[in-house]
């Protein structure tokens, strides 16, 4: 983590550019009725998987760098094991792909899926895209561990010259995507019921707001009041499963309290589910060296 922040950003930028070139996002036609479906393809190529590894490890490197900097300012010194990017990465995705199924299915893959949602917003490059129909100004970073508190993703985008919220919830399941999607929808219901307000409020006021241009920042109290928000579940699943994201779901999706064009299900159908996630994990471990400069002699 001892490379300059600028260089790290450049690596991240390169990875995003590769992913933007590889990923194909299509809005499914016809609309199922209860929600809009965005299909994502093209991210299983070696090049895309490698770029994902570089990007995700870069995100962790950024988190570690920030935490180190804060810790140093708080206690006046770096912790003894500062700079252990590899151990952080391995904490998240394991030291190899030979890990217990439970860790793989409940920790590693969900974390990668959470990052995928983040990546999909980043590759829009600040322009309106299929996922979010407005310029994205700020996005939360993925958690450093999947069990951490809070929503997977909160973003602020520009909606009719005013700030609006995008709330993402990611799931990854080889063969049982439907119940996972339902769990996502339950979370959106909790948001509808105002049970998650405090998480959104706290993140918005204390983190995202700072990234907004002045004219939008002034509108943040108004944004809470207008209550304009978009729900974006991101579901990674195997092509071999019988999950169909385009099924009309009037009693789940359809009953969320936002307009149809703000219920956007991002479907990532993977031809080889495990190969993809193993590949990303390998690429992340390999990318550690990208962010750790050699110690000067």
């Amino acid at each position: 983590v001892n490379i300059p922040a600028g260089e790290r950003a450049a690596r991240l930028g390169e990875a995003v550019a590769v992913l933007a070139g590889a990923a194909v996002l299509d809005e499914h036609e016809p609309c199922p009725g209860s929600h809009i479906v965005i299909r994502v393809t093209g991210i299983e190529s070696d090049e895309a998987v490698g770029a994902l590894g570089t990007y995700l490890t870069g995100l962790i490197a950024g988190l570690v760098a920030v935490d180190l900097s804060i810790t140093e300012r708080y206690v006046g010194a770096l912790p003894a094991d500062a700079g252990q990017l590899r151990s952080e990465v391995e904490r998240v995705v394991g030291t190899s792909n030979d890990v217990a199924d439970h860790f793989r299915d409940t920790r590693r893959n969900p974390w990668i899926a959470e990052c995928l949602a983040h990546v999909l917003l980043m590759i829009a490059g600040g322009e309106p895209g299929p996922c979010v129909p407005g310029r994205i100004w700020a996005v939360t970073l993925p958690h450093d561990k999947v069990s951490q508190q809070g929503l997977d993703l909160v973003a602020v985008y520009e909606d009719d010259s005013l700030p609006a919220l995008c709330i993402g919830e990611s799931k990854a399941s080889e063969l049982s995507a439907a119940p996972h999607l339902n769990r996502s929808i339950r979370l959106f219901r909790e948001i509808d019921a105002r049970d998650r307000d405090y998480q959104i409020r706290v993140v918005m006021i204390n983190s995202l707001e700072a990234h907004l241009p002045t004219e939008l920042r002034e509108q943040v109290p108004g944004m809470f009041w207008r209550d304009r928000r978009l729900y974006m579940p991101v579901i990674g699943y195997s092509a071999a499963s019988d999950f169909d994201p385009t099924t009309n779901r009037p009693t789940t999706f359809g009953e969320l309290l936002v307009a149809l064009d703000r219920r956007r299900c991002v479907a990532i159908e993977l031809n080889d589910f495990h190969t993809f996630f193993d590949g990303v994990a390998d690429a992340m471990r390999a990318a550690v060296d990208v962010y750790v400069a050699e110690e000067p002699e």
Binding site: R194, V203, M204, I205, F224, W225
Partner: protein, 1125 residues
Amino acid sequence: MFSAATRAYFDQLPELPGLDAADARRLLSAAYADVLAARDGFERAAGPPAPEAVAFLRRLAAALEAHAVFRDGVGADERRAAAFIAAESLSLTLGTETEVEGEGPAYRLLRRPVFEAIESALLYVIGGFESNGALTLTGIESFERGANAAEAVAAEEALDTMAALVRLSPAPGPAGQLRPIDEGGGDESLTAGVRRAVFTRISNAAATHLRWLRATDDQEREDAIARLRESVEILAEANAARYADVQHLSRLVLRVVEETEARALRRVPRPPGDQYSSYLQARALSRPLIWPSGTEYVAECLPGPHQHAAVALPTGSGKSFIAELAASQALLDGWVLYLVPTNALAVQVRRDLATALNSLEGTTVRAFVGGSEYTELSGETVADVESGTVMVMTPEKCALALRRSPQAFNTLKLCVFDECHLISEAGGRGVLAELVAAHVLAIAPEVRFLLLSAMIENPEVAAEWLAAATGVAALAVRTPWRPTRTLRGVLGFERNGLRAAAETAQAALAELPNHRKNLAFSAPYAALVNLQGAWTELGDDEYALLVLGETGDLRLHRSAAGGNWNYELQDDGYLNPTLADVATLLSHRGEKVLAFVPRNRHHAFSVAASVNGGDPLDLTASADGVLIDAYVQLASLELGAPTVLGDLIRGRVTVHSSALTDAERTASELAFQRGLANVMVATGTLAQGLNLPATAVLVGGTEVGYSAEPDADAETRVRAQLLNAIGRSGRPGIANHGIALVIPNHAVSFSAENLNTRLALQRAAVLAYEDASVVLTSRLGSLVALALDGAIVGDAMSTDEMVAYTYLPEGEAQDALARRILGRTFGVWRARPDAVDDAAQTVAHALRVVGEGFIAAADAPTWTTEVAYRSGLALPDVFALHRAVRNRQVFELPADVEGWFTLLIDMLRSMPLVRVQALVFGGISLSGLRFSQLGEPGDPEEGSWNAFAETIRRYMRGETVSAIAAYATTADPPVDQGRTVGSKPIPKTLSFLQEMAYRLSLVAGGLAALWLVGDEQAHADEGAAAWALPPEARAPLDLLPLAIRCGAASRSSLAWYRFGMRHRVAAHALARSFPLPDELTDDGATREWIRDTRRRWLDGDIEAAEVADPSLALALRRASSFEGV
């Protein structure tokens, strides 16, 4: 639900598209109605849908919090307003949903209900409503604490410290050092380590600031706050969502620091000297913050107070604390006069102020309670008042002090006039109060006034008056700020349920024999509540309907008409049972209920008897219970039989009315104040200032007393009394919100389809008014106008005018003082603000001319005006008394109190009965008493006067109320102890004795003044030689007025009552046990002897032989210790 002040908060809200302040108020009220409905088992049948209200309020909370707390450049008022409404919105929706699934329970701050509770509590503090904040934290202790990881430990500590800051309770942890940021465990992530460090900084900042506020420690605060600020900057730069929650709390705590610094008690502008610092330091422990209602007074008038102020604040908004702060400074080099409208309030103020000023060395707080009877006893007068003394008294008592000891007012520094709207009261009290205030202004050169009222609309005018009268600046404070909100409604029946029940009843009645004309049936109770505050708008969307889930009784009546039956609903007699029913219902659901019966004071007992206040109370189970039991025993001693109040209190119900003994009143107040009783049934007398707040107020009927001739004054008085009752709902620190329901004299019904708001308001018109609704006016106004017009006529003087006339000193030497007093009255200043002195002179002259004419016509000596001046009796009464004495040609003067009493009765007997009736018996019913003829036209039988005198003698000899009642009402013993009807022996006798203690002692004071002034004249004028008063006759005459008022004719019993035990029968018992030595004649020495004897008795060194029952002896000691001297 919102008062004018909180409505003003809404007006300061930032502009949000589509946000309407009225909507916000409406939905907040609806949310409170839902909270209430959930708490009390009601069902809300109309009003905004609950989910809609919740969604609205949560959006509002987020928007306002973002605006109020996290925006720079927001004005202080706007920030406070937004923070308060955000806090209210959050807190009212707390607990409306279940906790979301999957949240990790690592520590409490990670749980939504806990996080939002502390967030809302901190916002309340920023908004200036810290007592509300403390209440929102009630539930956080029920969540499991985190303990395993270092982050969890730091987070729990931060939560505890923030909670202590909100509650202003002692900060956890040791003072004097900042807690270091602990080492994390080996497996702690970097993020967890950072969060732990932030929590520790929050704890340090909150704890050191709290210690600073409470003045227990000043160290490290600046450093801790600087470090928290630095932490906020670091995290702001990092801008990481994973720290958003700790950043949020950090920023809230910093705002709390800012807000509370400005209101810290220790920042009060203070006079020099360590003495005051020690007071502030000690007081900051219990009251570290000044409420927003007090900040303007503190900033503008202290130190000193160096200027006058007229302060209008609602009930329960911190008036007493403002007075305490002003007094605490004024006492340092002078004394403080504290005027209150009633003796009961004087006792309470003395007790509260003595406790509050305990740490101010050299301070004494004395209450001068009693009537306004004239006396020359030094122990009953304000002679030379030492610096550091607070004298609490009524204006009547003060009037005597001003006449007797004007020199004492040279060192008066502050006059607090609580409930100063008294000067607008008709019937003589208002005029007297105004003249007393003006008199103080005229003779106390350094006095500063602090006028306090919960009701006046125009403090600005009062302030102008004070400034004009003294040339010293005067501040007007009108802050309708209140720490609690009240939902106001009308109680009636749910119409659909009522109709169905009535139809069933009609069918049942139709089946009954023809002689059956009535059938009772039950209908569901419902309450229609307004969602704004006062009932000013009648649109349905401004109201919510609550169905209470219980039924009340009504009656169906039928009458024959043309071969058919006409059926009609009848509600006569429904009022009190409904009041009792609903009081029971609310108390069983956890509310502290004040149930008012404004119409008749005896109804309080009958309603109370029908209330079930909850599980039986064991008075021996707590210290408070034991004290209350002591007063119950004391009351039973006074009554001569167990008081029915004892059983009521053991059923958790109390009564507060003027038809109580002093001990009963204290027992009642203690039982309610200390939470042992759940319901207090009270008459309008409670409306005057006593601190007895409740969570629910019920007003049973909208008529006060029975008045045959309603007039504008009566209407205003009734309205004020009812609004004052309504204003008692809500208890700071106990409940942020309260409910006040008016039960109209005639039943009203509502349904969700037809809320019937118009009729409801018609039946409970008082709800259309705000709390403060009285314009301060002068009762002297008409007299001044007449005098200035040269149209004053002695014979046609009103009561107010007569009081004014007799108040002012007469005679050449006193003219200047009369003019000075008049020139400082509100009335003269209002009439001629630009020519006050001239106007005062004109009025004084007019009064003198009329007075002289009046005296000449009465064929009385001129010195009788001095008698009227000293005694406070009206001139015609003094003339009548003078004539009576002169005609009696008394040559041998009595040598004891009873002898003088006999002489007084003889004088009254010789006066025309109509005058005696006006003077002594006016307005009270003597029916049912042996001497009822004294209240009737025509000559009474000879025995009537004897029976009257014998009744009073028995009272003065210390007989129990039952024994006196047995004689006076000719009831056979044992005397019925019932209190539910005024005509029963005990209430009849108690009322009569209370009236006589006041009125007859006043007349006795007139007699004493007559002889004393006559005696003074006798030295200079041979014509007055008949009035010469030898010392042996004078001493008992001095005692006579007090002997009548206190019910103690002997020297010993009166001394014990005055200085040892202010309960009549108990004082007599102690007097018999410890008789006053004969050689003690001086009042001061008598007081010392009684106090010393009492102390030895309390210490157990001596026993009271006349109190044989050990349990009673213990009760007497407990009560005596509690009351102090």
